[in-house]
Amino acid sequence: MPELEQAPAQTAIETPASGPVAPTSRFFRRFTREQRYLHAVLFTTFLGLAGTGLPLRFSESIWARGLAGAVGGFGAILFFHKFCALALTVAFLIHVKEIITRGIYRREKGIFWGATSMVANWKDVKDLFGHMRWMLGLGPKPQFERYAYWEKFDYWAVFWGMIVIGFSGYAMWLAPFFARFLPGWALNAALVIHSEEGLLAILFIFSIHFVNTHLRPDSFPMDMVIFTGVESEKEFEHKRPQEYARMVREGKLEKRLGEAPATWFVNFARVVGFAAIFIGVTLLILTLTAYFD
């Protein structure tokens, strides 16, 4: 989320000292290690939650029992669901703590506002309409900053989703406790909210996010930046020209120089990424068959 001027101190050290590198083969840091780990925990637990939640949501469907059985039966399904939920909650809290530490205690700039913030601004509104105009061939392609409007939407959708799904989930898990300060109907509402919001998250991530981020022609078949943390200069310039221009203008480009990722790591990340996409698309198809059954 934040600008990477601080973290890549080590990147600068990693930068090859053995002579100048050809500009075209240069790699720039986009995500810190913590952000990549956060995404890894997020998508692993999300797949776990989706895989164990869907059989419950569509318990009458033909595949529900089989999927529940594959996880280890009805008892295991709840255990894994709660286990993933706890892991994701911890990851979420660490992330929130990080925002508070950096944004409030350390008063870092660019956390809550500005070009590098995740918070939406007027440019995002203009970009959205501009992008749509471009799609219809009515205007030029907007020059995106560090986080484009759909990326901010992804972020806040997950942020909102975790609060909503998390609270409703814990309300059901610890129902007698939550009942002390929630009205009775809220327990009924908790399941409706949990399952509908979960369904929205599943449908959104496994179709929209997959396509927008990984499968669209500019990134096809997979945008590796979330795994490796770095992207090529060409890609940087093409995808986020305004950020690139700002970096050049402010003379910060060199500070973000990173190392080309190791081949083994790229391959490993591809396997993990494709496995995640495969599982996600499978779950999406199952969901759609059950939903329109």
Binding site: P176, W185, A189, V192, S232
Partner: protein, 439 residues
């Protein structure tokens, strides 16, 4: 007569008795016949009812020179390989016969048309009703009346080896009854060929069947405990113990308290009032495959049974977590209908005895949810999110969530599709290859 018998014996080479021994046996039989007959007469007077006595006495005194004594017949029929012209065995095991309940009878007491040797060409089937008139008349009115097989021996076994039903050798001894009935009423047997369900394997797997076959529990219900024996009627016959209205009473023969509970509940009242849509024991427990209610299989199958009448309740139950987890296969702990409503003694919600009466909800929910309190039990296990009047808050929550889902997805699907088309178009125009690294 004597010579012919001997000649017959002579023809058989592989017999245990030598020819001399057979002749000796025959002579002894002839000599002791009068003594034996007298003894038999006394025994018969003691053991058999008067109706047949005159007939027997007649035979004994007016046909002294004719065939009929066991020993005479067994001289030939004791041969284990003896067959009639059609190839059916006509041998009789003398030892077993004399030990059997009919052992004191003479052969021609039953085979009344065989009076001399050589026997007549056509010999009638033995008619048991001569003595067992009550049983025969019950059988005539029963579902087995059309049986082409001999109606008595089908169940009681070999006519010459019939034992009292208290004797473990009897085919109708309680522990042997299921196997006896199962000869016809199991997979691929006579009854299933006639379109009747195969019940024997279900019964044997049931709690009754396993109590009987594994524990040898004589009081465990066997076939005839519920169906009766000679006068078995179709379950559609109001006089049958398996007729819907009679089932609680039939099961209540053993399960007395449960029957009392049931009769006091709403379903019991309904059935007693002639409303046969209400369930009786077998509607939930089934008749033959009776499962332990604690078994996951029973717990999984019980809910749709209640739902076959309480359709709306089933539909709203299915929207809840109880159902979602439960239908994934036998999660024993999730609440099914009767965990909350009671099973046998179901009362209206307004009845203070009902577990779902307001005063009892904390206790009822607390069975599973430790720490259930007054606010917790406000949860509605049958809330209908589609019913605005009944559950307004839930209705609007659901509406909001659905609108959110539909609007977000609709917008982004359009957005993504347009984007895909445009990017691809751009890419082709610029002749740039796929992939992020070359974008």
């Amino acid at each position: 007569m004597c010579e012919r018998a001997i000649a017959y014996a002579d023809m058989e080479k592989d017999q245990r008795m030598t020819r001399a021994a057979r002749i000796a046996a025959f002579l002894i039989a002839v000599l002791i016949r009068p003594v034996e007959r007298l003894a038999n007469f006394i025994r018969i007077i003691r053991h058999h009812h008067a109706a047949s006595l005159s007939f027997i006495a007649l035979l004994l005194f007016f046909a002294p020179l004719r065939l009929g004594a066991q020993s005479e017949c067994l001289a030939c029929h004791g041969d284990k390989t003896m067959q009639d012209s059609a190839g059916h065995s006509i041998s009789v095991d003398g030892d077993k016969f004399s030990a059997s309940i009919h052992g004191s009878l003479q052969c021609n007491n039953c085979h009344a048309d065989i009076k001399e040797y050589p026997h007549p060409d056509h010999i009638a089937k033995v008619d048991c009703k001569t003595c067992h008139a009550d049983e025969a008349s019950k059988l005539t009115g029963s579902v087995h009346s059309s049986s082409r097989e001999h109606p008595c021996t089908s169940c009681h076994g070999n006519a010459h080896e019939i034992f009292p039903k208290t004797d473990s050798r009897s085919a109708v001894y309680p522990l042997n009854v299921p196997k006896t009935c199962g000869q016809c009423h199991s997979d691929g047997a006579m009854a299933t060929k006639k379109g009747l369900p195969s019940v024997y394997p279900h019964y044997m797997d049931s709690i009754h069947g396993s109590a009987l076959s594994k524990e040898g529990l004589l009081v465990a219900a066997n076939c005839q405990s519920c169906h009766g024996s000679h006068g078995i009627l179709s379950h559609s016959d109001p006089k049958s113990p398996t007729y819907k209205a009679n089932i609680p009473k039939t099961c209540g023969t053993c399960h007395a308290r449960i029957n009392d509970d049931y009769q006091g509940g709403m379903h019991g009242h309904a059935v007693a009032a002639g409303d046969f849509k209400a369930p009786v024991c077998t509607d939930c427990h089934t008749a033959h495959a009776i499962l332990q209610p604690t078994e996951s299989e029973f717990r999984t199958q019980s809910t749709p049974i209640c739902g076959s009448c309480h359709k709306e309740k089933l539909s709203t139950y299915r929207d809840t977590f109880h159902s979602q987890l439960g239908s994934l296969g036998g999660y024993v702990e999730t609440a099914r209908c009767w965990d909350c409503h009671g099973a046998h003694e179901i009362y209206p919600t307004s009845d203070p005895r009902s577990p779902i009466n307001k005063a009892n909800l904390v206790t009822t929910c607390g069975k599973c949810h430790a720490g259930a309190n007054v606010s917790f039990v406000q949860y509605q296990p049958h809330a209908n999110a589609h019913d605005r009047k009944l559950n307004p808050a839930l209705f609007y929550v659901r509406l909001f969530m659905n609108l959110l889902l539909i609007s977000v997805l609709t917008f982004f699907v359009i957005h993504t599709v347009l984007w895909l088309i445009r990017s691809r178009f751009d890419q082709v125009r610029r002749k740039s290859p796929n992939g992020g690294n070359h974008a």
